[in-house]
């Protein structure tokens, strides 16, 4: 039996060795994928990016508020403020046209008299409070309050802009405006109280500090590489579904599968041979991608992958993820009748599993329903196990539930494939 398994492995390796297209899919494409995606996604992780996003600022206010907005945006290293196009000040109409045509991603329109009206409104409110507290001259007649209409800072977004970017910009501007309002309130209070020596501490009382997990007393700050390499490595491992299912479909169409069925060799031995071969392929893929992330990434401006002390556990996760992918490939190859069925279905289903599993969008931001579905995706189990090892510094015992699920998926898909095949021959 062992010799039969060994010969099956030899055969599978020879078939792969002589299939250039298959080799490219297995080894080159995953590397291209992980490098490309990490380079692209790295910019969103960087706090100091060389690429600045131009923002149109339409200033009808010409006051302190618009100046503060301008200064704050300029200080922000993600943006560069554009106030003129073709040496002419930008009007709201020009800004809207440029943004809606996609020439700029964002325009901010600051309304006329915003600074003056904001100050007037704050003055009014503060005066009202101060008078109620009895700090004003009691003889003076109270003036009828002037009606100050609410002001609107308008934001125009390129319709193609992603929602996450849009939300973060809205939050940043909202925070900026709130700070300006707070500052005005404090200043007005100071003036109204007339006590020149009274100075309010205007710095925020509540601040935020991110406590970063430590491994071996070193802070592990997640970066694009730590997030992307596991995610896209897993994606690449699952792409083994395509060559494996094609391999099985080819055996059926070439007649070699029929010959094997007439041999005194169980189909299980053939499956074991394929599983071992493709597991080795998965591990080679994994080590290649880790090597690229450690040694090549620093040369192309990316932080290197930090796997300090995690290589063994990461290898375990990669192996079990490989098993899950192989089980799926065997099932697909068994059920499909042609390569035209197996290849597109394999590719599409891997992309769907990746999407559901949280490779692109984190599961916690998905709708409730999708979060439940995500928990049933083998790619989610693999990804979470990788993050547990690499970012959460867990022990082997803690990843056992996830790798067990991956192995169970392999057992179930392979059993269904064997059962389906047996059933098909009893027609």
């Amino acid at each position: 039996m062992l010799y039969k398994i060994w010969m099956s492995i030899v055969k599978e390796f020879l078939l792969l060795k002589r299939d250039l297209g298959g080799l490219i899919i297995l080894f080159i494409m995953p590397l291209v994928l992980v490098i490309t995606v990490t380079v692209i996604q790295d910019s969103s992780f960087k706090t100091a990016s060389n690429t600045k996003i131009p923002i149109l600022l339409v200033d009808y206010d010409k006051g302190t508020v618009s100046k503060t907005v301008f200064d704050n945006l300029e200080k922000n290293q993600l943006f560069t403020v554009v106030t003129q196009i073709d040496n002419k000040p930008i009007t709201e109409e020009v800004a809207r046209e440029n943004v809606y045509k996609g020439k700029f991603q964002l325009a901010i329109v600051i309304p006329k008299n915003l600074s003056v009206d904001l100050q007037a409104k704050v003055d009014q409110n503060v005066e009202n409070i101060v008078s109620k507290m009895g700090f004003t001259d009691s003889v003076a007649k109270p003036e009828k309050p002037k009606v100050i209409t609410q002001k609107e800072v308008k934001l125009y977004f390129d319709p193609a802009v992603q929602l996450s970017f849009k939300n973060s910009v809205i939050n940043a501007i909202d925070k900026m405006i709130s700070q300006i309002e707070t500052k005005s309130i404090y200043t007005t209070f100071q003036n109204q109280l007339g006590e020149e020596n009274t100075k309010f501490d205007q710095t925020s009382f509540i601040t935020f500090k991110e406590i970063i997990p430590k491994i071996n007393n070193k802070e592990i700050l997640p970066n694009s590489v730590q997030h992307n390499v596991p995610a896209w490595t897993l994606f690449a491992i699952f792409f083994i579904v395509i060559p494996l299912s094609i391999n099985i479909v080819k055996e059926k169409s070439q007649g070699t599968f029929v010959r094997l069925l007439t041999n005194p060799t169980s189909n299980l031995i053939v499956i074991i041979g394929k599983t071992i071969t493709y597991s080795v392929i998965c591990m080679i893929q994994f080590y290649m991608m880790v090597a690229v992330a450690i040694f090549l990434f620093p040369h192309i401006g990316l932080p290197p992958l930090n796997i300090e002390g995690h290589l063994f556990l990461m290898s375990v996760v990669a192996l079990f993820s490989g098993f899950a992918a192989i089980g799926f490939g065997i099932l697909l190859g068994t059920v499909a009748n042609t390569q035209e069925q197996s290849a597109p279905f394999g590719a599409t289903s891997v992309i769907i599993l990746a999407a559901i599993g949280g490779v692109w969008v984190p599961v916690f931001v998905m709708p409730k329903m999708m979060q439940i579905i995500a928990k049933s995706s083998p790619m989610n189990w693999g990804l979470e196990a990788f993050y547990d090892v690499l970012l959460r510094n867990v022990s082997f015992v803690e990843i056992i539930p996830k790798i067990s699920l991956l192995f169970l998926f392999f057992i179930i898909t392979t059993s269904i494939a064997l059962f389906y095949d047996k059933k098909k021959r009893t027609v």
């Binding site: 010799y3 039969k4 078939l15 070439q254 010959r259 041999n263 005194p264 009893t426 027609v427």
Partner: protein
């Protein structure tokens, strides 16, 4: 002579099919025979061979090979039979030697025995100098010969051949048939299907003519010719029993 294959009331009806592909067939094939299963398209030849090889299960009836009942000893049966399918059941990107080593090992052969057997058979069928060439570079006749070798490396007691000479040149056909005769002389019982009636007449010791899932006649070629009115050869017997109607079916 002892019957090596005993078939009793074997029937097969495929799911969703209106008719039985094989209907209550009983047959005995003796050890050492070269037994030809002949019949028009859709007669049930391939269904019968597929069941005997364990590829599909009968709807009813049973059979035994070398006194091993199919229901209880299917894995033992697989060890003593060899199968040469009609299509080239080989890996195109593997060499002839690699294909044969692999399929031989699946029959339990290994080491020097396997290597020697591969070299010997490749040599006998004139393919030794092409042993390390990939199958996709071979001609149809060469592929047929490698296809045959892959089914006989383990010296089977019973060899099933589904149209082993279809689409090959005369030289390859002669090489294949000559080698099969040697195998038969060495004790292998051969069950063979073909549409080449003249070839079957020369090659087979016994023949059964199937049509519409039933056996219409069986015996030696000469007996069948003698007992059929106005028959000069096996083709006349065949036409007399199965008619001249076309058997196109989808």
């Amino acid at each position: 002579m002892n019957p090596i294959i005993k078939i009793e009331s074997l029937s097969k009806k495929y799911k969703d099919a209106d008719q039985f592909s094989l209907n209550d067939v009983s047959l005995e094939i003796n050890e050492g025979q070269i037994f030809g299963l002949l019949g028009p398209n859709g007669a049930g030849k391939t269904t019968l061979i597929s069941m005997l090889c364990g590829l599909i299960k009968p709807t009813s009836g049973h059979f035994s090979i070398d006194d091993l009942d199919y229901h209880h000893h299917s894995s033992k049966i697989k060890k003593i039979i060899g199968v040469v399918p009609q299509e080239y059941a080989l890996y195109p990107t593997l060499t002839a030697r690699e294909n044969l080593h692999y399929f031989g090992s699946m029959y339990g052969l290994k080491g020097a025995d396997l290597k020697d057997k591969v070299i010997e058979t490749l040599d006998l069928l004139g393919l030794l100098k092409f042993a390390d060439k990939q199958i996709h570079t071979f001609s149809g006749g060469m592929k047929r010969r490698v296809n045959l070798i892959a089914g006989i490396l383990h010296n089977p007691k019973v060899l099933f051949l589904d149209e082993p000479t279809v689409g090959v040149d005369v030289q390859s056909k002669n090489a294949i048939l000559d080698y099969l005769k040697i195998l038969n002389q060495n004790g292998t019982t051969i069950i063979y299907t073909s549409h080449h009636l003249a070839e079957a007449e020369d090659f087979c010791t016994n023949i059964a003519i199937l049509d519409r899932g039933k056996i219409y006649a069986k015996g030696t070629p000469s007996t069948l010719i003698e007992t059929t009115e106005n028959a000069r050869n096996l083709e006349d017997v065949f036409i007399s029993l199965t008619g001249k109607d076309l058997r196109d079916a989808i």
